[in-house]
Symmetry: C2
Subunit: 594 residues, 2 copies
Amino acid sequence: LPSMQTSRSKPCSCPSFRLREVASMYFTMIAVFLVILVVALQGSVPRGSDFPYKVPLDPQGLLELSWNVSYAEQAVNFQLLVRELRFGLLFGMSDRGEFENADLAVLWSDGHNSYFGDAWSDTKGQLHMDSQQDYQLLEARKAPEGLYLLFRRSFSTCDPKDYLIEDGTVHLIYGILEKPVRSLQAINISAIHRGLQRVQLLKPNITVPDLPSDMKTMEITAPDIVIPSQETTYWCYMAELPDGFSKHHIVMYEPVVTAGNEALVHHMEIFQCAAEFDSFPYYNGPCDSKMKPDRLNYCRHVLAAWAMGAQAFYYPEEAGLAFGGPGSSRYLRLEVHYHNPLVFKGRRDSSGIRLYYTATLRRYDAGIMELGLVYTPVMAIPPGESTFILTGYCTDKCTQLALPAAGIRIFASQLHTHLAGRKVVTVLARDGKELQVVNADGHYSPHFQEIRMLKEVVPVLPGDELITTCTYNTEDRSRATVGGFGILEEMCVNYVHYYPQTQLELCKSAVDAGYLRRYFNLVNRFNDEEVCMCPQVSIPQQFSSIPWNTFNRDVLKSLYGFAPISMHCNKSSAVQFPGEWEKQPLPTITERLR
Amino acid sequence: LPSMQTSRSKPCSCPSFRLREVASMYFTMIAVFLVILVVALQGSVPRGSDFPYKVPLDPQGLLELSWNVSYAEQAVNFQLLVRELRFGLLFGMSDRGEFENADLAVLWSDGHNSYFGDAWSDTKGQLHMDSQQDYQLLEARKAPEGLYLLFRRSFSTCDPKDYLIEDGTVHLIYGILEKPVRSLQAINISAIHRGLQRVQLLKPNITVPDLPSDMKTMEITAPDIVIPSQETTYWCYMAELPDGFSKHHIVMYEPVVTAGNEALVHHMEIFQCAAEFDSFPYYNGPCDSKMKPDRLNYCRHVLAAWAMGAQAFYYPEEAGLAFGGPGSSRYLRLEVHYHNPLVFKGRRDSSGIRLYYTATLRRYDAGIMELGLVYTPVMAIPPGESTFILTGYCTDKCTQLALPAAGIRIFASQLHTHLAGRKVVTVLARDGKELQVVNADGHYSPHFQEIRMLKEVVPVLPGDELITTCTYNTEDRSRATVGGFGILEEMCVNYVHYYPQTQLELCKSAVDAGYLRRYFNLVNRFNDEEVCMCPQVSIPQQFSSIPWNTFNRDVLKSLYGFAPISMHCNKSSAVQFPGEWEKQPLPTITERLR
């Protein structure tokens, strides 16, 4: 090339040289690929201790999944223990645990030979071999307890048939082949023994903080109870802190699960009771029992929460969760959710949570703040929607007033909706620019509400905005779903765990009620006066009289994206920070995250 | 595995066997890959004759691109002739021809060595080497006329930095390096000689139909004119068919471009004049000249159209375009668009179109039908929109009435909007299900309106629906853009070429005017009476008085997606098919194409 500028007639000799360069580059790449492959197949198969996360897939515990996450390689290594292998199994992932449109690794036998492959199921559940094999089998090893299958999957494979492994909930699915099958295509997915298990696959890679030397432990566990022989039980057990127990900091906690019951104990929470009552009655029984004393409803402040697949929860080195001492109740309520679909009888259980605490108080108390939407019927979801979005705001005005100058640090988050919730995300914005995701779950399930440690602590400064967006599905409903406390009403909440604790307990919003009235009026006129606008009619009644055509649906969305909001910037659920909180402008976002 | 069903204690020997199977599968795949690579690099480099499509990239013709398309391999093979190579060049693709967010192949020299690589530019136009190399260099060959670079690109590379090659317009970009550069990153993309060229890269792979033995040719070409020394000229030249010229069928046509002017002749069209006038004056001059007789405005019926990069246009074997004979004007108008950005002076030109026609009439006359939106201000686009969508319908009721029982066959299509148009697509639907795309252009440019032969002929039956959707960008406008004939008003049209010819010339829609009035009323009330609703005010004036907040924008979209339509199901622009065409329901689509 350089020779050509001086003389056009001089022959150019570089092209063929360059061609060889390119070729050798390709060969090198292939050679590297070979080396990696050989290493993967023969050398560095991960050891058992390399799989820190573990969850039983089926209620009998025949299939036990362990895994680890390599963020450097953007891949998950799975170890699947198959206790009683017959003619193979299916393991995979899908949007919400369905067996249609699923991404599957399949091990199957025709009675003579066995095969392993990456497959996918179509909208009818028919299996197909994947043209790109992305479940990479690393090892299959026989042990006394069963067959260990080790395999690996990249988060993202660039194959449109594959599931994209993201932060948040992953719906794992499994199936057990009890007869030989001629081929992958011959597997009748609806006829096999199968199920789903929800986990957070991409656990954060946190460094365990230094723990205090004077740390003590306290186990809040069920007192050797008999698990009821029914599919779902919420068990309530009241415990008590010692008399005169002074203020301590909880610095970590971990699950205590009775051996053999790993597949039955679905999630557990410890609640602290309200300080305004001097004493609470003892109770040990199902939470929905008529025998349960009403006062136990005042034990709702979360101290610790665990769900299947989760490990120990660590507070950041600078902070601890205060319990004990004056102004704090001595009474604790343990709630254990037993999931017993095979209706085992007579199983005894002493599961619970082990708290690690210290009297040497850390620098900061940790706090919990509620973000999202106010529980009010003005926020509603039309029926028959596959993806309807509602957004709750914690505005710059509120954080400006309520947060300390140095800001706060969010280190954990628990997302919450009722039954129609499908996705939840909270984003931090500063000066109209979205800075980062605080916590997101694109496959959120109301049946799997963990407290999740964040991959990185999120600093929030005065003047920042926290925007929480929930996506709902109301395809199975025939009437509008309004906001509220009822199980068939909806919520959109993110409980963020942060330090240092501030007075701000609630930072939530709802659409301005006056603008909602304009909407009802508009719908009324546009649709020839079909909606009853009589003033004595409640908001849920007005919503339920709307004819839900596409126009009325779309305009409700437009209203929620436009109308001013009413803010709850509160010290407790009833006490506001001083200021004007009605008819506030919606935050304007000029730069969105991708 | 099969052994395990009979006896659990029998050791399982299959896993290690299976592991080897998997490994050998990988090795085989690599071996195949190697063979393909070696063949690609040494063997089957395509010959010059293998590149049927050709276009100059720059106005001087220094860079000449030829290409072919392998639909089997889903790849494009490029041959770039660089006539005066200095220190390298950039070639690539981007959404609309911009140099930011572009996908580029770069050949560059630091004065000593030369390099070739796949690169991308960020939002600021800074170049980066792509982590995945998808422009595959096949050959670089010196010839007397310059350097030939042969390279290949898959349509889709699965690399998010890469451009996805799709049907429709592709904006090619080029740049010429006139100084040595230390590295790819050191290229200052805004300081180099550069430009863009629009082409339809994925030409349809049609089989050339048999041509009649009595075929004659007629050249309608400019009469050795001097191309004006200005950037843009539309040249008009009147031609005449011989006296008593009987009805013939045009069966194909091709461009005739004067040698040396390949980079200047941008596109050409032949229009037939209206039959109601006995004669038309002669004219040979710029179309926008004051000297041009007004009557030439009646020469608007397209007979043939060509744009840069296009080859010959063939009618299907069963059909021809009728011209000559009674009821058809003898007068033709040739329009040539010269694009002369370097303002060459004194260039002479005799370019035009060569028609191939036969007196042996084919079975069917071909026809042209207009789909999309009626030219009316009721269809409007708010200002400042990046992607606003308007949809025009050809309803089942109209096709039921106007099409023959055996249906029609669409074989070509010309998309049309004014300056705000960014995408156009027409979809065929039957019984509420979208069946196929008739023609789509996701990178549509109003400056590149070709008649495109379709990849496959689309059969349309009575009762089918043809839905044409246009996407507009009005970010540079401060007032609403309404539908209409003006260059700053908008259109959404697809001229489809089909056979057998029917009486249906227009099948288009617009929103019902009464519902638009409801919208103005609603906006008025919701926004506290800001819009002037006085009855004497025109629709464009009402649109221009709307305060364009997000609510008013969203509700206009909702209205267009909900309100009934007024149909134009016309024999000619003024004569309707009998029936009720006002307040028609919007077609309901229950199943969409992906």
